[in-house]
């Protein structure tokens, strides 16, 4: 595993990114505010009405380190980018927002109650006016 990471590090260091994603080509890319965007491969001739629209921006914010971060990243991003957390103002109480996600938008379907509690604890620990770092 370590070897693989180092290998990728060398590739990135050279400004080369292997074209591992189908429908993209190799090139030199840097991460911008919209995240790393791979270049779509040139269109190939063919029939039918399927249109290749290329990659979409990843647009994902880096969340604060802390207990529950992985839960937030995996559960919240089922429906939306976690950037939706960092683009909020610092909220004193995240409970109404959690309830909106769970009830109004139906996330109960995906998020077990005990996980929801941990997610709320994470948000209170890192994203209130007192606890938010940036």
């Amino acid at each position: 595993m370590k070897k693989r990471v180092a290998f990728f590090g060398i590739l990135l260091g050279l400004g080369l990114v292997a074209a591992e994603v189908p429908g993209t080509v190799a090139g030199q890319w840097t991460g911008g505010t919209l995240g790393l965007i791979l270049q779509p491969a040139p269109a190939a001739p063919g029939g039918g009405s399927t249109i290749n629209i290329g990659p979409l921006p990843t647009y994902t914010a880096e969340l604060a380190e802390g207990e529950g971060k992985e839960l937030v990243m995996s559960y919240c991003s089922i429906c939306h980018s976690v950037t939706y957390i960092t683009m909020q103002p610092p909220l004193a109480n995240w409970k109404p927002t959690m309830d909106k996600m769970l009830k109004t938008y139906g996330a109960e379907k995906w998020i077990p109650a005990d996980v929801a509690e941990k997610i709320l604890a994470y948000l209170q620990a890192h994203y209130t006016p007192e606890t938010r770092k940036e």
């Binding site: 249109i51 683009m87 103002p89 996330a107």
Partner: protein
């Protein structure tokens, strides 16, 4: 009636309109007290030349039955949420008797090129003068409704207080006294923005500086833009740029020659053809919508030593 993209391209007369697409919550970070939602600065807007088919032509071709009150739009966007909730399907409706229905187009081109995916390929709704929430992307279904749309995105979300400027107070909201309407009942209020100078570099006494920016209004053409270099105490008219149509950005320019060093606050305000002028007071509503207070820019003027 079912139409292919080819039908839209070949069987209907193409029309073009320059129009500003602006998020309902543009500038939301200015709200005091703060409200939840994306904390936009002034960047949640754009202007383009849209080309497509008149909604009116489509409705005529399909034939709208008597008793229709709204036209509903839905695109290929789908959320992961349950189908019956706002997180599953995205739909918006326009009142059939809203004058904007006459101007709305189903656009297949942006600035003369096919719509990029993120801008709504293959066709999106362009609703001139209305906020972006109505500009549905990837439009696939257009439905005639015999009663007002009760879906989440009309009945619950994107609602604003039913007051002249959509403003209210946190106290009135807490007391449950606020009657709301869909934000589509409002046209985008008149706004203007200072682009240059941006305060990042000092200006010099005696040297002319061009104060430049853009203005627009959802009510119609911008007819006047005024500049203040004394924080809004006195105003002088700016020169307006090319007129690309009444719903487009309109550029403005004002040459200022500061005569004394010091700190200055530049301000800009626009007036549209309906006589609406930007206020110097903030709005407040729980959604963080409809901001159009006069914009300011602090600048430093240094002596030419």
């Amino acid at each position: 009636m079912e139409l292919s993209l080819e039908d839209l391209l070949t069987k209907f007369k193409p029309v073009s309109i320059a129009a500003v697409n602006q998020c309902s919550g543009n500038s939301r970070s200015r709200f005091q007290p703060r409200v939840a939602g994306g904390q936009w600065g002034n960047g949640a807007m754009g202007n383009a030349l849209w080309t497509g088919v008149r909604l009116k032509d489509l409705l005529e071709a399909a034939g709208v039955k008597p008793g229709t009150v709204q036209i509903q739009f839905e695109g290929l966007d789908r959320g992961k949420g349950p189908e019956n909730l706002g997180s599953g399907r995205f739909m918006k409706s326009l009142d059939l008797d809203d004058p904007v229905v006459e101007e709305t187009i189903l656009a297949y081109a942006m600035n003369g090129e096919p719509l990029p995916m993120l801008n709504g390929f293959p066709v999106r709704l362009v609703v001139p003068g209305k906020f972006a929430t109505y500009w549905l992307k990837h439009v696939t279904w257009i439905r005639a409704l015999t009663e007002p749309d009760k879906n989440f995105w009309m009945a619950t979300a994107y609602r604003v207080p039913d007051t002249p400027n959509g403003s209210t107070t946190p106290e009135a909201v807490a007391a449950g006294q606020v009657k709301t309407v869909p934000i589509g009942h409002f046209n985008m209020p008149v706004r203007s923005f200072i682009i240059d100078p941006d305060g990042t570099s000092p200006l010099v006494v005696g040297m002319p500086v061009k104060i430049r920016g853009v203005a627009f209004s959802g009510h119609g053409k911008v007819v006047k833009v005024e500049i203040s270099t004394d924080d809004g105490k006195t105003w002088r008219p700016a020169v307006l740029g090319a007129d690309y149509g009444k719903y487009s950005f309109r550029t403005f320019e004002f040459t200022w020659r500061p005569s004394q060093p010091g700190n200055y606050v530049i301000a800009v305000r626009a007036t549209d053809e309906k006589g609406n002028t930007q206020p110097d007071a903030p709005v407040w509503n729980p959604g963080g919508y409809l901001w159009n207070k006069i914009e300011r820019q602090e600048v430093v003027v240094l002596a030419a030593k």
